[in-house]
């Protein structure tokens, strides 16, 4: 079972937590200046300890574009890793979900992905993989600058924690802008997910640490955790403050969304995200019953174009047939609850 099918903590306001550690090996230039021979050598070197630890290797130069996109949709690799050229490999382990990208921007991007909010155990799981590799390899490190990375924005701990939050009520009350300014002062970044610019579809926002140098990992995690817990509290208060006619209208919208998700014949990707947001809010307000948050997260990932296409034996040939497949997927996942 992948992270998106599992139960998590604080799923009323948090979809997922991702912790990433960037590491590089001494004696090689960073991947952008690495020739194919050295890149393959690096992948080979890293293979045995990772495979011994239960990871399976996926050479990204050998897989189809749709398969590569599906790994992006499931949050195991970055879009630039999926579309890059040249030797690169993903090492993947499920339960707990750990993904190691070799030859992305840095030699190693060690990541753990968890459902809901759990940055401490996310860090511990990623760090355990890092410690295993640290026993065999010399990581590029400097006493002052810490772990050395291709982009100086990752120097120091090389750690980036990203929490995907679900904030429909705060989003509707248009206080995301001021929240973003407050978070920036704490060294945290907030951005809209699934949208262009700072906007967001489905009330989804990503909060991550901007600073990586000058603080211990635990301090960075604590600062982020405190912020996330406070924001979640504000979101819950904002949800409770919806009353009277506004609540009637919202209830109507949520129930209509539930109906659409249960009975629609065609569903586009954007519509799915919007419906899932309504249902997630509906569950937390007690309006929707008999559906669990993790079913919605499964659908959010499994309803994405590439992952959806790969899940079917007869690959959909056009958008309409994909929309039909998406509606069927939604109904089968909801029935599974």
């Amino acid at each position: 079972m992948a992270w998106y099918n599992e139960q998590g903590k604080m799923t009323d306001t948090v979809i997922s937590t991702r912790v990433r550690l960037a590491r590089n090996l001494v004696g090689y230039p960073f991947p952008s200046s690495l020739d194919s021979t050295s890149a393959n050598e690096l992948i080979e070197k890293l293979s045995s300890p990772l495979e011994e630890s239960g990871f399976r290797k996926i050479h990204f130069s050998d897989i189809s574009a749709i398969m590569a996109t599906s790994y992006v949709e499931r949050h195991y690799v970055s879009p630039s890793f999926a579309t890059a050229e040249g030797p690169r490999a993903l090492f993947l382990q499920e339960k707990p979900d750990l993904a190691v990208m070799v030859c992305e921007e840095d030699h190693l991007r060690i990541q753990s992905i968890l459902p809901g909010f759990d940055p401490e155990s996310g860090y511990q799981k990623a760090a355990a993989v890092e410690h295993r590799l640290d026993r065999e390899f010399d990581f590029a490190f400097d006493e002052e600058l810490g772990y050395l990375t291709h982009c100086p924005t990752n120097l120091g701990t090389g750690m980036r924690v990203s929490v995907m939050m679900f904030l429909p009520a705060l989003s509707a009350s248009s206080c995301i802008g001021s929240l973003s300014v407050q978070l920036a002062k704490l060294g945290l970044t907030l951005r809209g997910a699934f949208g262009e610019g700072s906007g967001s579809i489905g009330g989804l926002y990503q909060i991550s640490n901007r600073l990586t140098l000058g603080y211990a990992e635990e301090e960075l995690i604590q600062a982020l955790s405190e912020a996330v817990i406070q924001i979640a509290e504000r979101e819950r208060r904002a949800r409770k403050s919806i009353r009277g006619e506004a609540l009637e209208k919202l209830t109507d919208r949520i129930k209509r969304s539930e109906g659409t998700l249960r009975y629609a014949h065609l569903l586009s990707g954007k519509e799915l995200i919007r419906l899932l947001a309504d249902l997630r809010l509906g569950i937390s307000l007690g309006i929707v019953q008999g559906i669990r948050q993790e079913q919605l997260t499964s659908l959010l990932v499994e309803g994405m174009p590439a992952t959806l296409t790969l899940s079917s034996e007869n690959a959909p040939r056009n958008e309409a047939s994909r929309d039909k497949l998406r509606a069927q997927k939604a109904q089968s996942i909801l029935l599974g609850g």
């Binding site: 230039p29 992006v72 810490g146 701990t157 140098l213 000058g214 590439a306």
Partner: protein, 183 residues
């Protein structure tokens, strides 16, 4: 290169922006960059999430570019190249990316103040590789032994001094071997 805005002063800020699928690059002097920033014509953080399928991946490269250039750079460093990967300081500043781990040592004087403006500090306080812990322990031990050697010499205790010197040599040789092993 001259600032694209005033066309008078040297450009020191290399600004890249990707917004709604459109890219824009500007080379500006510090003064014009802050004026444009105040007017809101350029932004502090310009990397935005664009990919529909991808809520997670933040590219903070442009942020780095914004910060670069703000500090003045030592002129002589601009043309020297990293002996390991051949990157020059100009390459690093223009790309906002570093060529190899060695570059950080090669261009330490120029990069450290930039790292400080980027992170607010240039001193790592997080976890450390095992190997580095061993290096730290050995350096501490060496410091302690050297002090003891000084003391033995000042007390004319040559017997202890000789054995301390041997111990120091063994530790130092170990360090050399280790360092050679790393390259």
């Amino acid at each position: 290169m001259l600032c694209e805005n005033c066309k008078k002063r040297t450009a020191t800020v290399f600004y890249n922006e990707k917004l709604n699928g459109k890219s824009r690059s500007l080379s500006l002097c510090g003064e014009c960059a802050s004026k444009l920033r105040e007017k809101g014509e350029i932004q502090d953080v310009t990397s935005m999430i664009e990919s529909f399928a991808d809520p997670f991946w933040a590219t903070q490269d442009t942020l780095f570019n914004d910060f670069f250039g703000i500090s003045s750079l030592p002129k002589k460093a601009e043309h020297s190249a990293c002996s390991f990967c051949g990157s020059t300081l100009t390459d690093i500043l223009q790309n906002g990316k570093v060529g190899c781990p060695e570059c950080y040592s090669t261009f330490r004087d120029a990069l450290t103040p930039l790292m400080r403006s980027l992170h607010g500090t240039s001193l790592h306080r997080g976890s450390v590789p095992q190997r580095q812990l061993a290096v730290r322990a050995r350096n501490e031990q060496l410091g302690k032994l050297r002090k003891e050697l000084q003391k033995a010499l000042s007390e004319e205790d040559y017997e202890s001094a000789a054995s301390l010197r041997d111990e120091i040599r063994t530790l130092e040789n170990g360090k050399e071997m280790n360092q050679n092993g790393l390259v």
